[in-house]
Symmetry: C2
Subunit: 227 residues, 2 copies
């Protein structure tokens, strides 16, 4: 890194990650107990400093890898939070990211090691600083994304039934969705392919498993659910 020619004062820059997961038909959030002052022991989002030679995205990836052991996670910028007093420990500008991960794939030991755990999205504890607000923003962004694009590849297991997909959407939007209409809408997008095996545990009749089509060149930008 060459020496900067700028002489202006610098700031502490961080990232905070809102990590969404999905398990037991519930939308979940990975939170950790802060390991240093201020607010030591309180629940918070996973965060980290941004190094001089990396993007904020890279910093968020690093944080996610540290806590979940996963790489290539879906990540999206949410918002910059920069109130001078937002962190009592000093002036920190933080970019919030939301991530979607498959709970079945992450490293449970790492999570435990970091004093983190999964919380049901609608049963979160109170968080430190402005982290509650970050979660709210992230949830809005997630809904916006899910309303225009079929998400789930990053949250669901490799194969899933339409019921599971719909339950995920119901968890994200926190409301009921008509089964028949949802199914028709999803199929009209042509982004899923049916597998040969069926799930027989959730229903008597048995429901086909589906997976996301591999070569989905054209991104579907049609509304899936109304906000």
């Amino acid at each position: 890194m060459p020496v900067s020619q700028y002489k202006y004062p610098k700031q502490h820059v961080a990232v905070d990650c809102i990590i969404f997961g999905y398990e037991d038909d519930k939308l979940k959030l990975l939170l950790s107990q802060r390991k240093f002052e201020p607010a030591k022991g309180k629940w918070s989002l996973m965060g980290g400093w941004v190094a001089e030679n990396e993007t904020v995205e890279k910093a968020a990836e690093r944080v996610l890898f540290q806590i979940t052991g996963l790489k290539d996670i879906y990540l999206e910028q949410v918002h910059v939070f920069s109130k001078p007093q937002r962190d009592p420990g000093g002036r920190v500008i933080s970019t919030a990211f939301y991530a979607m991960i498959r709970i079945d794939k992450h490293d449970k030991d790492l999570v435990e090691e970091h004093g983190a755990r999964w919380w049901k999205f609608d049963r979160q504890p109170n968080l430190i600083f402005d982290h509650n607000q970050m979660v709210k923003y992230a949830h809005e962004k997630l809904k916006l994304k899910a309303s225009y694009e079929l998400i789930g590849a990053n949250l669901l297991p490799g194969k899933f039934t339409i019921l599971q997909l719909r339950t995920l959407y119901q968890a994200i939007f926190q409301r009921q969705i008509d089964p028949g209409n949802f199914r028709k809408k999803i199929f009209s997008l042509k982004v899923l392919e049916r597998l040969n095996d069926k799930n027989t545990s959730d229903s008597k009749k048995g429901a086909y498993y589906y997976q996301f089509r591999k070569y989905t060149e054209e991104l579907v930008n049609e509304r899936i659910v109304k906000l």
Copy 2:
């Protein structure tokens, strides 16, 4: 400002503003010629450093005031740009904001003083660093906003005709919009109120002037134009 307890290296943090205006039925962008190295003399967005005791929003407001003499400008975060090499002068993390201002209200002398000028949106010069990308992101955000909410209060003069409003939308979306349908859609939102005087310069018949309703408690969140 209390002393920060954090010991991690700090970064240069800046904001860059994509300033939209509207004049002569054209969407415009306020750009300035950079006054210092690197890239001195090249066209760029208006930017500024973020001070230790202010939010990024506040910094953007400051930049806007310096260049336009206006306060209380509509501002929205676009994205954080943080590639380590994005600025050849050193590592700078920048939050892009877009702003909408009324060209008829800003201080033209200030703009000139800063070596800035208005460019037609579809005739911009090439910009420094990643500023072209910032403009692209901002335009997408602007379209998204305009598609869900009737904008114009921040771009149009105090009173305007439906034709002017439609022309603004056509400038933003860079396509034609059916006059009859647009008019009906806009009125259905009930956010405009008709004034008693008419514009007789743009049409022979004369078109009523409208203004945005003052007490528009309920924000209208209905689609105005398809993306």
